[in-house]
């Protein structure tokens, strides 16, 4: 970005290098134009179009992966880094985009939305995430972050009939804008200290110069970490995430928990490992503290939740702790552990929130733990897939989750961070308790209830209509699920109607893919593992 005055040249743009981003940005534009010309039809065509675009973006990532090999290069005047790490993450984001489109399809059918907005915003958001992973300049990281986040704010608010969705969007927006401003100030201070925002130039500047009074540089680095810490929901910057995960429509929660986190970690790798690799001794302690706090707080608070989406939010905070532990080791093993963890986590969390989206029913209202009781007897396949995904998240052997946690711990041990490794393992044990509690509930007997309630008569009407009195009403509906009083019968009969509903086609495909990947890649680990290693071999 450092352009000398008078020597302003138009950079050569290698479009093939940014093809995944271009597809993810261009497809929504085409889709929005298309939607303006047609009036009739359901959400099916948008879903199909988005899936096709996702496959195209994935193939473009594969193409870049194959072509770049072990010779990374920069494109667009140093603003884009083309290497296997960016290709690997672009591939993950393309997959997440496609899975999200399938989940959004079922959601749109259920909520009677026929517009292309949700998949279009999802693709735009994914393009921002791809840009973050491929950024060769701190400003490009920022732009990618904003493209991703601004789309996510709207996606969180997508359920207009539900006040909680708007509230989630407001909270996400305020804290997201706050963290973006902090991140940006970090860029400004780094620019002031090093004279450039280009990642490679920052690295070479720091390698060849000893910054005597490095207060500005360290302040800038701290603010970059804080800004990205908000995005990956690391403790103590996690306070928004349970509320936002709970309030957003479930497909959106699935998408943001997977993509926003993965993109945040990719940016942390770019900023800390690549640009500020020589300042390792300064940022390692900070990441260490964030990792320990995330592991401890995420693990403990997971267990005391009753709302399953909140539980998954806290458990994803503990997952963030694991990834930060891999980052903290600042080694080749840590980098490949990070890439592997992100890939495995993306599939597991999207699958888990797919189940939450199915069980939640219209408006995502029945997320209480009791709604999940007896799921396996109603939908054996869904219950089985959810079991696999939860065991994967818990780190059970023969799943990708086990290998992911194993490589993180071994990277931490290899770095001499034994305490961190022990904390990570203890946190895994504590969160395993929570996962097993859900699994037992899945196979447990259903609570006493009237199995066939009158169809279509959903008792908490105000939440759907959205009158002024809604907050009290829907609040009451949520409390009813958690208080074990005779009223539970009412809640159970209300949720029963929803749960007997069919599993959507998109949800089924997503669950099958995610659960199969979790097991197959766990039993036969070498393909994904080799990819993760190859993705991070050069830095």
């Amino acid at each position: 970005m450092a352009v000398i005055a008078g020597a302003l040249a138009i950079p050569h743009i290698s479009y093939i290098s940014i093809l995944p981003e271009l597809i993810a940005m261009g497809a929504p534009m085409v889709m929005l134009l298309w939607s303006a010309t047609t009036r009739s039809g359901g959400p099916g065509r948008w879903t199909a179009f988005t899936v096709v675009a996702s496959v195209a973006a994935f193939l473009a990532s594969v193409e870049i992966w194959v072509k770049v090999g072990t010779h990374p290069y920069t494109a667009v005047a140093g603003a884009i880094l083309v290497d296997r790490f960016s290709a690997f993450l672009s591939g993950i984001f393309a997959v997440a985009m496609g899975l999200f489109a399938l989940l959004a399809h079922d959601w749109a059918v259920r909520e009677d939305e026929s517009g292309p907005e949700l998949p279009a915003l999802g693709m735009l958001s994914a393009s921002g995430a791809m840009l973050m992973a491929a950024a060769g300049d701190l400003v490009v990281v920022f732009l990618g972050l904003e493209i991703m986040s601004i789309a996510l704010y709207v996606m969180a608010a997508m359920n207009r009939r539900r006040l909680a969705s708007g509230e989630a969007a407001l909270k996400y927006f305020v804290l997201g804008a706050f963290s973006s401003a902090i991140f940006l100030y970090g860029i400004a201070l780094t620019y002031g200290a090093t004279g450039t925002t280009n990642i490679a130039r920052i690295a070479s500047y720091l390698a060849s110069n000893v910054v005597v009074s490095n207060g500005v540089l360290l302040a800038g680095m701290a603010m970059l970490i804080v800004g990205l810490g908000f995005k990956v929901a690391a403790v103590p910057f996690h306070t928004w995430s349970p509320d936002v995960y709970q309030g957003s429509p479930s497909p959106v929660t699935a998408f943001m928990s997977a993509v926003a986190k993965a993109a945040g970690f990719a940016a942390l790798v770019r900023v800390l490992m690549e640009a500020m690799g020589t300042l390792r001794l300064d940022w390692q302690p900070a990441i260490y503290v964030l990792a320990v706090l995330s592991l401890v707080v995420g693990g403990i608070l997971t267990v005391v939740q009753r709302d399953v989406k909140r539980m998954l939010a806290y458990s994803s905070i503990s997952h963030a702790g694991f990834v930060l532990a891999a980052l903290q080791s600042a080694s080749a093993a840590g980098r490949s552990a990070l890439a592997y963890y992100v890939a495995a986590y993306t599939l597991m969390i999207i699958g888990s929130f797919a189940v939450a989206g199915h069980v939640g029913g219209p408006g995502d209202r029945s997320q209480d733990l009791s709604s999940y009781r007896g799921l396996s007897s109603r939908h054996p396949a869904v219950g089985f897939a959810f079991t696999i995904l939860l065991l994967g998240q818990a780190g059970a052997p023969f799943t990708t989750g086990f290998l992911a946690k194993f490589y993180v711990v071994s990277a931490a041990v290899g770095n001499g961070s034994y305490t961190l490794a022990v904390v990570a393992m203890l946190s895994a044990v504590v969160t395993a308790f929570f996962y097993l509690r859900i699994v037992l509930g899945l196979y447990g007997s259903e609570e006493p209830s009237t199995p066939e309630g009158p169809p279509g008569v959903l008792e908490p009407q105000p939440a759907l209509v959205g009158s002024v009195g809604e907050p009290q009403a829907s609040h009451g509906a949520e409390e009813r699920g958690s208080v074990v009083v005779p009223e539970v019968l009412v809640a159970a009969s209300a949720t029963q109607v929803i749960e007997v509903s069919e599993v959507g086609a998109g949800t089924s495909v997503v669950l099958a893919l995610c659960a199969a990947a979790t097991v197959v890649l766990g039993v036969w680990p070498s393909p994904l593992l080799d990819l993760a290693k190859a993705a991070t071999i050069i830095f």
């Binding site: 400003v139 904003e146 207009r160 509230e167 804008a177 706050f178 620019y191 709970q246």
Partner: protein
């Protein structure tokens, strides 16, 4: 007499601090929103000052990126706020408490 760059940097830091503090303390959502804008503009001032001190146009060019992003944030943020306030007029940030646990 020229004003040293450090003065501008200090001013920017103070503005950024006021914005951050205001965001955390104020309860009116629109004021919180304005505090975010204040923080972004403090960053802009920092960029311009450093660009001048380093004799590098890059820092000034970055301001345009920030302005564009800030404008996009305004559009989305106001949309979210208006959507909420149409249903709950005169609400403050404390009134949004369905989600907690």
């Amino acid at each position: 007499m020229t004003i040293p760059g450090s003065w501008y940097l200090t001013l920017a830091a103070v503005l950024f601090g006021i914005g951050g503090l205001g965001l955390l303390v104020r309860r009116n959502v629109l004021v919180m929103f304005m505090c975010v804008e204040l923080m972004l503009n403090a960053v802009n001032l920092t960029f311009v000052t450093y660009a001048r001190m380093l004799h590098d146009v890059g820092g000034q060019a970055l301001v345009f990126f920030v302005l564009v992003v800030a404008a996009a944030e305004v559009v989305v943020g106001l949309g979210v706020i208006v959507g909420l306030f149409r249903r709950r007029p005169d609400a403050t940030a404390d009134d949004f408490h369905i989600l907690k646990g």
